[in-house]
């Protein structure tokens, strides 16, 4: 999954939460998914940053 796709999915989850579209039972599962997506996105940003540094050093 690309960074954009992850971000879109994340935003969808947040929007649905705000709109109250999830039942209480679903919330925990969605929150877990959201946290996982956030972690993925941040890791992707960090990796990109490192890659850029490496490439420029070369």
């Amino acid at each position: 999954m690309t960074y954009e796709q992850s971000l879109q999915q994340l935003e969808t989850i947040v929007r649905k939460m705000e709109a109250g579209e999830y039942s209480i039972d679903e919330l925990t599962e969605q929150l877990k998914t959201a946290q996982k997506l956030i972690a993925q996105c941040k890791a992707r940003l960090t990796k990109t940053d490192e890659d850029i540094q490496k490439l420029l050093e070369n």
Binding site: E11, V14, E18, I24, I38, I52, Q53
Partner: protein, 450 residues
């Protein structure tokens, strides 16, 4: 008797005596040399006079009608002085076709006939005549508008294909080819010899023929070089003719002349694109020309390379500046994205907290409502009970009796209609404080309204 006759010797002796007696001095004579040759150190000449033609070009001059002719001799002792003198001043040997001014005395020899004996020569006369003839040719070329045509041509930048007109045997051609080959700069030339006679009477036609052969393949050549070895005193008169000058002047390729002399320019030199003194100098000119072109090419090459290097350096700097900005830019992007992710996380947390709070509130509300509703219900019931109690209390007969009301009973039952107690009926009246008995006297016919 036959008339007196003489031996030839006797008669010739008479002629000799007549000549020696009548022509005693020396004379300056102007004539044209029809022939001139050296033998045994003596110089033998044929002097002629031709009828002057109107057009004074070299061609028509030779066509004049002969009007006088005589032999002339220069003895060895005199010739040894006159020959170098003439050649030094006139820059050429005495030869057929020249006009000369000679100091002579007559000699008639019984065995060899008549001759003028040359004792002096005036080279300036020859020079003057040649100069006049040259000037006539020059004037005519200018009149024809061809004199400067070659000067308007330009040597091609890459002037490498050289058509050479020279004599095969001349050292000059070898010098020229060697000089071109050993140019020290590795410049390449292609040369081809178009052989021609470079001396004497046939020069004109021979060189014109060579030019025609080159013209037939003019697109294969960049320029023409006419060269000739030999010393400064060589016979150059063949190059001073109108026809040759016309051919050279109007030739489509630039012509370089190097015909080996260094005082006066020949007409060929004047009309050619460039003149140099020697074949070697002609080669040097071509080498220098191509060398300059090579220099230009090399300079251009250097400038291109320098420019390219500078440009690459500039671009490299630009790139490295851009590259330096990339991490900064990306860190901005990263910060922005991280902030966005954080906001999303916060939003989620907030939303969840709100949601939980709301649900809690709802639950609490339900709890509160339950109590309230129960209370209210109890109150309502209590109130109802009170009302019922009040109503019940209001109905107690004792209270009515207390307030003065009474109950009339007949046979133990409450009397509601007078009709139920006919006169004479004993009724029991209960009061608050006790019971009294009484007898009904009458009964009204119409029941009173209650």
């Amino acid at each position: 008797m036959s008339p007196k006759s003489y031996t030839l010797l006797q008669l010739n002796s008479l002629v000799r005596m007549a000549v020696e007696r009548t022509l005693t001095g020396e004379y300056w004579v102007e004539a044209e040399l029809a022939e001139c040759r050296e033998r045994g150190g003596h110089c033998y000449m044929e002097l002629v006079q031709k009828e002057e033609a109107h057009s004074a070009t070299s061609r028509s001059r030779q066509d004049g009608t002969l009007v006088a002719r005589a032999s002339a001799k220069c003895w060895r002792s005199q010739w040894a002085l006159l020959q170098p003198y003439f050649e030094r001043i006139a820059q050429q040997p005495l030869r057929a076709g020249l006009k000369v001014k000679l100091k002579v005395y007559p000699q008639f020899h019984e065995a060899y006939g008549f001759s003028w004996i040359v004792t002096d020569i005036d080279p300036t006369f020859t020079l003057g005549d040649m100069a006049r003839r040259r000037q006539e040719i020059i004037d005519q070329l200018k009149q024809e508008g061809v004199f400067d045509l070659q000067k308007d041509l330009q040597l091609p930048l890459f002037c490498q294909r050289i058509a050479v007109i020279s004599s095969e045997s001349a050292a000059g051609y070898g010098d020229f080819v060697n000089q071109l080959a050993d140019n020290g700069r590795d410049l390449r030339f292609v040369t081809r010899l178009f052989p021609a006679i470079m001396q004497g009477e046939q020069v004109e036609q021979s060189v014109i023929d060579a030019l025609n052969r080159i013209f037939a393949e003019a697109d294969q050549w960049d320029c023409v070089v006419i060269i000739r070895g030999g010393g400064a005193t060589s016979d150059l008169s063949g190059f001073d003719t109108l026809a040759l000058a016309e051919n050279v002047a109007q030739f489509p390729l630039p012509i370089i002349t190097g015909i080996g002399h260094d005082r006066d320019e020949s007409i060929l030199d004047m009309v050619s694109h460039q003149r140099v003194k020697t074949p070697t100098a002609a080669a040097a000119l071509l080498v220098s020309h191509l060398g300059q072109v090579l220099d230009r090419v090399l300079q251009a090459e250097e400038r291109v390379a320098r420019y390219a290097l500078q440009r690459m350096e500039v671009e490299r700097l630009r790139l490295s500046r851009l590259a330096e900005r990339i991490p900064v830019l990306f860190s901005l992007v990263r910060t922005r994205h991280e902030a966005r992710l954080d906001r999303l996380a916060q939003t989620m947390t907030a939303v969840l907290r709100q949601r939980i709070d709301r649900e809690n509130t709802r639950l609490q509300t339900f709890g509160t409502q339950l109590f309230t509703m129960a209370d209210r219900r109890l109150l309502q019931e209590r109130h109802r009970l009170e009302l019922l109690q009040q109503r019940a209390t209001a109905l107690d007969p004792a209270l009515l009796l207390q307030r003065g009301y009474s109950i009339t009973l007949v046979n133990g039952r409450a009397l509601r209609r007078p009709a139920d107690a006919p006169p004479g009926t004993v009724v029991e009246t209960r009061l608050a404080e006790g019971t009294l008995h009484s007898q009904v006297i009458n009964t009204p016919l119409t029941p009173s309204k209650q």
